[in-house]
């Protein structure tokens, strides 16, 4: 029987009531009395020297309060980078300044040059158009390998080159890996591009800065996944505002997918300008601005080699990746191609030797940072593609080749620094094969062929490291932050609870699933638990939501705080019932004394905590409120097996997805409905990457895909009904909920299935196509087929 409440129940979401009736409160819905509006003038060239900016006409326009340029930001810090990578030679990465407004040079199309604050948004936009910048266009570097060539134009004149870092991992293994590849019975080599994407949450970014003269306090309302991180970065590194004078509020946020993790110039600008002008200042991004100012994702160029022995056991993996950083380092950019990528190259397999080299490169493009999956989709894609290619070269079944090399014993220490705690890769594969009726595929293919179509089936596995945390570990790896999470549980006198969490919900449904956990622990109705998030003024310092970490890390903090509440409540109950605290049980919201018929309701005890007339005041304080910070000792490792079945029209190269199936192991699941929804969304983004989406620049650095006319967002008719399963559950061994995280899996696991399926289809039609770079548009598929007849 499926549960109808508490952990494991598909409780309907409480946030839906407001979202379905237009009562959500997103940042753009917030107007602060007296607010002015900002419009940015952005560079329309990829690289140029700013010889001057004539703002005089703009300053005289109606409603204009002030025009800002870089010279107004002297003494203000640049946007900081939160992760340092060390190169093979021991040097720290090259770290350029990232000014709020372009200073001296513009470095990508969209780089903000000046900002107008005016009474209305329309007046600000009109005046921004009247600014006349004198920009001398410089040659731009767009292609990463060209950017590293001798004599290439430099994105940052004060750096030695366009190389941010040259990272080797595990450097000590390099020689052994080279030797294993040289001596292997078979080596499969694949060169590929992991296409640049734009996250595109449907809500564009918004920032509203406000300043209170009487208290000298600044407030920023912003579309963020992690308000405390923004408060810390902007307060300490950019504007020099102490945290107790800075409040950051991220109210309802319309999707994030990584791109709303980072601290952006517009946030600092609005906070700064509000204080300067003593007026609230609001900025709302247009979609076109979003395309040229939100951090992009992916953009790796990779060569991977898989070495196998004569029995088809994997013996080594060697990988060389160029990773595009764009023009500046976004907040967590350096960590994505390194620690979130190199450490995942073992995948689900016992490959004893692995070496990755990553060269991170500055180019005249929008900064690139984490996008759903961040590094892990890139690792999974190359690994699962090269395995499929090896199976084809060796003439063996790709599923059998994977199974033969599966890790089967846990814990398993990979050669790339991480230790998987639990998993059952055979279990998810078996589940998947049952879901997709692999045995019936040959018949389905025959039917497609009878209709003049080519049918293909692609299968792959994935693993990810989630619950992005262990502070000590990430500190050793270069993170300039801790990655714990926090929760305060406040029990009110009449028994209701408020949980204040450092996690942030921007579609994940925390208000529902977090309440399920706490209500289940106490045995009360979920409706008695309120979840508060998104405001630094009323939540404890937390690191926010990304890396599928909310339930594993934030939920665990909440469990720890609730455990403290329960322990204290039992003490109070033991006093009231004159029994030993050890004998008190809490079940279904009732305290009982073992072996007696004494009982007290939850509300009796909470009331006693605040009306302590009969209370052990010499032993415990009144009140019932506890805080916990939780910092786990490992990542979590969700894993699974995915399959995609496609039909390719050989006349046009058009790919139709007929089926997409995901068998995941997320450990324990709190709300299956929400988990399945997360997987669906991830699958659509992965399919989008594989078939549709591409962020394209021309050779001069013009952004060709800067609107929904040119950037192909997945639409309803591009997607199939999905088959998802999460019944294979190996609970995480090191967090109290046994959960692993589910937010990114779909986006990580699906691109290789789609591409594997298309290659399978083309091969079945006699086209010797080994690989096509994503997105597999009809033009690319058709060209590949017809080049390889």
């Amino acid at each position: 029987m499926p549960k109808d409440h508490g952990i494991g129940a598909s409780s309907k979401r409480r946030e839906d009531a407001r979202f379905l009736t237009g009562k959500g409160r997103y940042t753009d819905d917030i107007n602060v009395a007296g607010q002015a509006h900002v419009a940015f003038l952005r560079s329309d060239v990829a690289h140029g020297r700013i010889n001057g900016i004539d703002t005089s006409a703009a300053e005289g326009m109606p409603g204009v309060l002030r025009v800002f340029t870089a010279k107004d930001f002297e003494g203000v810090g640049g946007l900081p980078c939160g992760w340092q990578i060390t190169s093979i030679d021991g040097n720290p990465m090259q770290e350029p300044k990232h000014p709020i407004l372009a200073d001296g040079k513009v470095r990508h199309v969209g780089d903000p040059i000046a900002a107008v604050v005016a009474e209305t948004a329309a007046q600000a936009r009109d005046a921004a158009e009247a600014i006349v910048p004198d920009i001398e266009t410089l040659p731009a570097v767009i292609d990463m390998k060209a950017a590293l060539a001798e004599g290439a134009p430099k994105v940052h004149d004060d750096l030695t080159s366009n190389l941010c870092y040259d990272w080797g991992f595990v450097q000590e293994n390099k020689e052994a890996v080279d030797k294993a590849v040289a001596e292997a019975a078979h080596v499969t080599t694949l060169e590929l591009v992991n296409n640049r994407l734009v996250a595109n949450p449907m809500e564009p970014r918004v920032a509203v800065g406000d300043y209170a003269l009487h208290s000298d306090e600044s407030t920023l309302y912003t579309t963020s996944q992690n308000p405390h991180v923004i408060r810390l970065l902007m307060g300490a590194f950019v504007l020099g505002i102490p945290e107790h004078k800075l409040r950051v509020v991220a109210p309802d946020v319309g999707g994030g997918f990584g791109t709303k993790i980072f601290h952006y110039a517009e946030e600092a600008f609005c906070t700064f300008a509000a204080k300067e002008l003593q007026r609230p200042v609001k900025w709302t991004s247009t979609r076109s601005e979003a395309f040229m100012s939100d951090a992009h994702g992916r953009d790796h160029v990779t060569k991977i080699e898989l070495a196998l022995d004569a029995d088809n056991n994997f013996t080594a993996i060697r990988c060389q990746t160029y990773a595009n950083m764009g023009a500046y380092l976004s907040t967590f950019a350096p960590s994505v191609p390194t620690w979130l990528h190199g450490t995942l190259l073992a995948g689900n397999y016992k490959t004893p030797l692995i070496y990755t080299n990553v060269k991170a490169v500055f180019t005249n493009t929008v900064p690139v940072d984490a996008y759903r999956g961040a590094g892990r989709p890139e690792a999974t894609f190359q690994l699962e593609r090269v395995i499929d290619m090896a199976a084809r070269e060796l003439g063996v079944d790709p599923v059998a080749l994977r199974r033969q090399n599966f890790i089967t014993e846990f814990p398993y220490a990979t050669p790339v620094a991480v230790e998987y705690d639990t998993g059952d890769y055979e279990g998810t594969m078996t589940k998947l094969l049952a879901m997709i009726d692999r045995d019936g595929f040959a018949e389905r293919r025959r039917q497609s062929e009878a209709n003049g179509k080519l049918r293909g089936l692609g299968i792959n596995c994935y693993i990810e490291a989630c619950g992005i945390a262990p502070s000590q570990l990430v500190g050793q790896l270069g993170a300039r932050a801790g990655l714990y999470e926090s929760a305060t549980v406040r029990v009110n006198a009449t028994g209701g609870l408020v949980v204040m969490t450092g996690s942030h919900s921007h579609g994940q449904g925390h208000e529902t699933s977090f309440a399920q956990v706490v209500a289940d622990m106490i045995g009360i109705d979920e409706g008695q638990v309120e979840i508060v998030h998104g405001d630094t003024a009323n939540t404890p310092m937390g690191m926010g939501t990304y890396g599928s970490r909310s339930l594993a890390v934030g939920g665990s903090a909440m469990v720890r705080a609730t455990e403290k509440i329960i322990a204290k409540a039992k003490k109070i109950a033991s006093h009231l019932m004159e029994a030993s605290a050890d004998d008190i049980e809490l079940k279904d919201g009732k305290f009982t004394v073992a072996g007696t018929d004494k009982e007290l309701a939850w509300g009796d005890v909470t009331l006693a905590a605040y009306v302590p007339h009969n209370y052990p005041l010499d032993e415990i304080e009144p009140g019932l409120e506890e805080t916990a910070f939780y910092d786990p000792n490992n990542f979590t490792y969700p894993a699974g097996a995915y399959a995609c079945e496609v039909e390719v029209d050989p006349e046009t190269g058009k790919v139709d997805i007929l089926a997409m199936a995901a068998a995941d192991d997320f450990g324990n699941v709190v709300n299956p409905m929400i988990v399945e929804g997360q997987v669906h969304g991830g699958l659509a983004q992965g399919i989008g990457q594989a078939l549709l989406e591409n962020c394209a620049y021309d050779a001069d650095g013009q952004l060709l895909s800067a609107s929904y006319m040119d950037y192909a967002m997945p639409r309803a008719h591009d997607m199939p009904m999905f088959q998802v399963d999460h019944s294979s559950q190996t609970p995480c061994t090191h967090n109290p909920l046994g959960v692993k995280g589910c937010g990114e899996a779909g986006a990580i696991g699906s691109p290789p299935s789609v591409v594997n399926a298309v290659i399978d289809a083309l091969q079945s039609g006699g086209h010797d196509v080994r690989h096509i770079d994503m997105p597999l548009t009809p033009a690319r598929v058709w060209s590949a087929m017809n080049a390889a007849k």
Partner: protein, 163 residues
């Protein structure tokens, strides 16, 4: 600035508007009905979809002065008279057809138009009709399920699924 008057969700409402004021700006800023959202600047995402005189209209593509006097329905007008969720809204909640909620008002309004035109659409018809509404969160699976459920139908399982 001239005042423009519309009948919004059954009530007569006025606010000042410039010649260039879009319907969506008028609703959000003039009338403070912030349930209607703006997700793009090329009339492609559908987050702003409302009904004007009963027809689905992207409110970012209409100048409000051009439709003075029109009857407009927004997401704020879709609940039942007693405040409970309407059929489509309830189906979205029941089937988890929304995550961040940003595309949701437009999706609900589009679904309402579809079901008015075609009370028993097929799954393919639902997907086709929602072509002008982008959702980045749900992968559309549960939106399609919700719309089908609101029409009193189930979605058939994928053809290749093993039973």
């Amino acid at each position: 600035m001239e005042n423009v008057t519309l009948t919004v969700n059954g009530k007569e409402r006025s606010a000042p508007a410039e010649g260039r004021t879009l319907l969506v700006e008028f609703l959000r800023e003039g009338l403070r009905l912030t349930g209607t959202h703006v997700g793009c600047d090329t009339s492609q995402c559908g987050a702003c979809l409302v009904h004007v005189d009963g027809e689905p209209v992207k409110a970012c593509s209409v100048l409000v002065q051009d439709i003075a006097g029109a009857e407009v329905t927004t997401i704020e007008g879709m609940a039942n008279a007693d405040g409970s969720l309407g059929t489509i809204q309830a189906a979205f909640r029941e089937h988890h057809g929304l995550q961040c909620g940003f595309c949701t008002p437009g999706m609900v309004m589009a679904a309402a138009s579809l079901l008015k035109e075609n009370p028993k659409p097929t799954e393919a018809e639902v997907r086709h009709y929602l072509e002008g509404n982008i959702c980045r969160c749900t992968g559309y699976h549960n939106i399609v399920k919700a719309v089908m459920a609101a029409s009193g139908q189930d979605v058939a399982p994928p053809a290749v699924a093993a039973e």
